[in-house]
């Protein structure tokens, strides 16, 4: 009898275990609880700004009674995946940012995950809109007839701006017998300095070219300088081939830099953190980095003596362009019950006082143009470079990802002496034609 009881008990136990796992599974599939009306949830990836955000959240709650919860998910790759996964499960927070290309941004909009902020921006004669740098706002804007098929409008609020340019170490300039007030103005001068760097056995330019997007950024600066914006965009549209002599000239610059000694050893696999450490510790003459570096260098070596400069021109035909615009932006969840409150919070966050506080604490360039007077000189030089700024997100057309990858990896091959600029150009063009054919067949 007791044997029978034990057997039945065991069967029952197994059924309970089954039910438990099923419950856990089904609970996991269920969308998480949405936030209350009096609380706003914000997801972000900005480790360096989290403390400042938490402080601002406290101030906002004290002022309005609305609780704002900033949730940090880092690193940025993990954050990006979390946002995508949350979108699939309809679990996005009230406010979030999107990392990636404009194509991804447009997909979020088309799926209804992002609120069009245009009506709010236009309120009170465009007061909110006019408080931003136009180039910062442009990154979050889709113009009429854009190639992404998105309704024209502004879909995000920038919270800071950035520019990516070259920096040089004044101390090492002096050691090389160069004038620290006269950085190279032309590409020929840069190559000449490369010879001196090589002879002095110093390291030249450091940057995160192992993370390929930065090499892409540097190359597109020179593409704009050598052939002008129209021809670059025509190439993306497929009207000009990458085998065009101007593109070969752009690719050839990397070969020249490598041969002259401008580029630091190991640049092709260097991550930006390593590059920042080398430059901050007076071990590299030049760096190619974004305005966020001011905060990073300050943390690594407060005595670092350096200055910013535009990449030296390789051609006089067109102005030098650098990447710039919105550094980080926040979007409002179009499906959130709290979207009105979320917009109000974003308006407050991007207002002058809060922007000044963020700039002071994090050393990032504020997106609000009314508080630039409080930033340090080196940051001001980055702000000044905004005049030359452009960004792929404002071009209105996007290059195919495999083409970008082939182009960037091709540059790495040129630097390591594995391929010639002509070979890389031909390979990139082949991939471009393949992608165009695929697009046409869809």
């Amino acid at each position: 009898m007791s044997w029978l009881f034990a057997k039945r008990f065991t069967v029952l136990l197994f059924l309970v275990i089954c039910a438990f796992f099923l419950t856990v599974f089904l609970t996991g599939c269920q969308p998480s609880k949405k936030s209350d009306v009096n609380s706003i949830s914000v997801w972000h990836w900005m480790t360096d700004r989290d403390a400042a955000f938490q402080e601002l959240a406290k101030r906002y709650e004290a002022k309005t009674g609305v609780k704002v919860t900033f949730e940090l998910y880092a690193p940025s790759d993990a954050y990006s995946q979390k946002v995508r996964a949350a979108a699939q499960g309809d679990n996005l927070p009230d406010i979030f940012g999107i990392l990636g290309e404009k194509r991804d941004f447009s997909s979020f909009i088309k799926a209804g995950y992002i609120l069009d902020l245009t009506p709010y921006m236009e309120e009170s004669l465009g007061a909110w809109k006019n408080s931003f740098f136009a180039k910062a706002l442009a990154v979050n804007e889709f113009i009429e007839g854009n190639s992404y098929g998105v309704k024209a409008g502004i879909y995000g609020a920038p919270i800071d701006i950035m520019t990516i340019q070259m920096l040089y170490n004044k101390k090492l300039f002096k050691e090389l017998g160069l004038n620290p007030k006269k950085p190279p103005q032309t590409f020929a001068e840069l190559l000449e300095m490369g010879q001196k760097i090589k002879q002095a056995k110093m390291q030249g330019l450091v940057s995160g070219w192992g993370e390929v997007w930065m090499v892409d950024c540097f190359a597109s600066n020179y593409a704009f300088n050598i052939m002008g914006k129209d021809k670059v965009l025509a190439t993306i549209k497929g009207e000009v081939a990458y085998t065009d002599p101007d593109w070969i000239k752009v690719l050839g610059l990397f070969k020249q830099m490598q041969e002259s000694g401008v580029l630091a050893n190991g640049l092709v696999t260097m991550i930006n953190k390593t590059a920042e450490q080398l430059f901050a510790n007076d071990k590299a003459v030049f760096a190619f980095n974004g305005s966020w570096c001011v905060n990073v260098y300050k943390g690594m070596n407060p005595d670092l003596d350096y200055a910013g400069m535009l990449p030296p021109k390789a051609s006089e035909q067109n102005p030098m362009a650098i990447w710039g615009g919105a550094g980080s932006s926040f979007m409002v969840n179009g499906r959130s019950k709290n979207k009105e409150e979320a917009v109000k919070f974003l308006q407050w966050l991007t207002d002058r006082d809060q922007q000044a506080y963020l700039a002071e604490i994090t050393n990032n360039l504020p997106a609000n143009k009314n508080c630039l007077n409080k930033i340090p000189d080196i940051l001001a030089s980055f702000a000044k470079a905004m005049d030359n700024a452009t960004h792929p997100n404002v071009w209105g057309v996007s290059e195919f990802s495999p083409v970008i990858e082939a182009f960037d990896k091709g540059i790495q091959s040129i630097i390591i002496g594995e391929k010639t600029p002509e070979q890389v150009a031909a390979e990139v063009q082949k991939i471009k034609e393949r992608e165009l054919a695929k697009k046409r067949s869809r």
Binding site: F14, R84, L278, S401, I416
Partner: protein, 290 residues
């Protein structure tokens, strides 16, 4: 009564089957299904492309290059890593002083974080300020110094060697367990019969350790082919495509190109290849036992 007993048996295996279905079979089917679509991972709509993604993989040169790179690392792991693991296990199985200390030391690398190991080795192998180049210079071999991780001729091998260093502890542990199951009487009998240490090793240790070696081989292949964290930390897959491996390509398809359908197709293809390799090895080990 018999039906009841059969039902009870099914009830007992139900939890395991349920977990297996939920976490393995259903996701596998979903991933395969996604592989038949072009999808950016965001939009609710997906475009059906049939086997188009799988066909594309066949002509994806970079994908096959990454498979070749993973194969190269696996080959080094199968030889260098496992030989070192076996020799160290064999040494620790003998009556040597402080053998427990060595057992702990040899098992430290596998329990370390791959990212930390990658970053430390990146620092050691750095072309400008790395320890390895410093030591080479100090011992009078400056001609051998180079950018170990940025030079296409050395990058993949450098990554493979670090992978072996990180992974040999597992093999060491399994080999050691295998060696300890060999009855000591066999060695005593061999010694009585006049066999020397080499003959005992060749005629007793090696044959009895082959099943263990097959198991270690399977685990090494599966583990090494799927390695990627260490590579991301050390080279990010560069220079150019010289240290790209399949998992990095799948990540690139998902994150870089937002081609989730293609990434799923790559994942399925890669899984099928790994299953095929495992099956061949399994058949090989069964044949050996037979």
């Amino acid at each position: 009564m018999r039906i009841k007993s059969t039902l009870e048996n099914y009830v007992f295996v139900l939890p395991a089957v349920t977990i297996f279905m939920i976490f393995y079979v259903i996701p596998f089917i979903w991933v395969f299904q996604l592989g038949l679509f072009e999808w950016d991972g965001i939009l609710p709509t997906k475009t059906f492309v049939g086997l188009g993604n799988f066909k594309e993989i066949l002509f994806d040169k970079i994908w096959w290059q990454s498979m070749g790179n993973a194969g190269y690392i696996t080959l080094i792991a199968l030889t260098l890593q496992n030989v070192v693991a076996f020799l160290l296990a064999w040494a620790c199985d003998r009556e040597i002083r402080a053998k427990n200390f060595y057992r702990v030391i040899f098992f430290i690398p596998p329990v370390l974080s791959e990212v930390v190991v990658g970053l430390v080795w990146q620092w050691i192998l750095d072309g400008n300020y790395g320890l390895l180049n410093h030591w080479l210079g100090a011992i009078g071999l400056p001609q051998l110094t180079r950018n170990w991780l940025s030079d296409p001729q050395t990058a993949l091998t450098a990554v493979a060697v670090v992978h072996c260093w990180k992974g040999f502890g597992w093999g060491f542990l399994i080999f050691l367990a295998g060696l300890q199951t060999i009855p000591r009487e066999l060695y005593e009998a061999a010694r009585v019969d006049g066999a020397n240490a080499w003959q005992a090793f060749r005629k007793i240790t090696v044959p009895l350790m082959i099943p263990v070696a097959v198991l270690v081989g399977i685990l090494t292949i599966l583990g090494t082919m799927q390695a990627f964290v260490l590579i991301i930390a050390m080279t990010g897959g560069g220079p150019a495509y010289h240290t790209q491996v399949p998992v990095l390509r799948i990540l690139a398809s998902m994150r870089g190109s937002s081609r989730f359908g293609y990434a799923c197709a790559q994942g399925i293809s890669f899984g099928v290849i790994l299953m095929a390799i495992s099956f061949i090895q399994y058949r090989f080990s069964k044949k050996y036992k037979g």
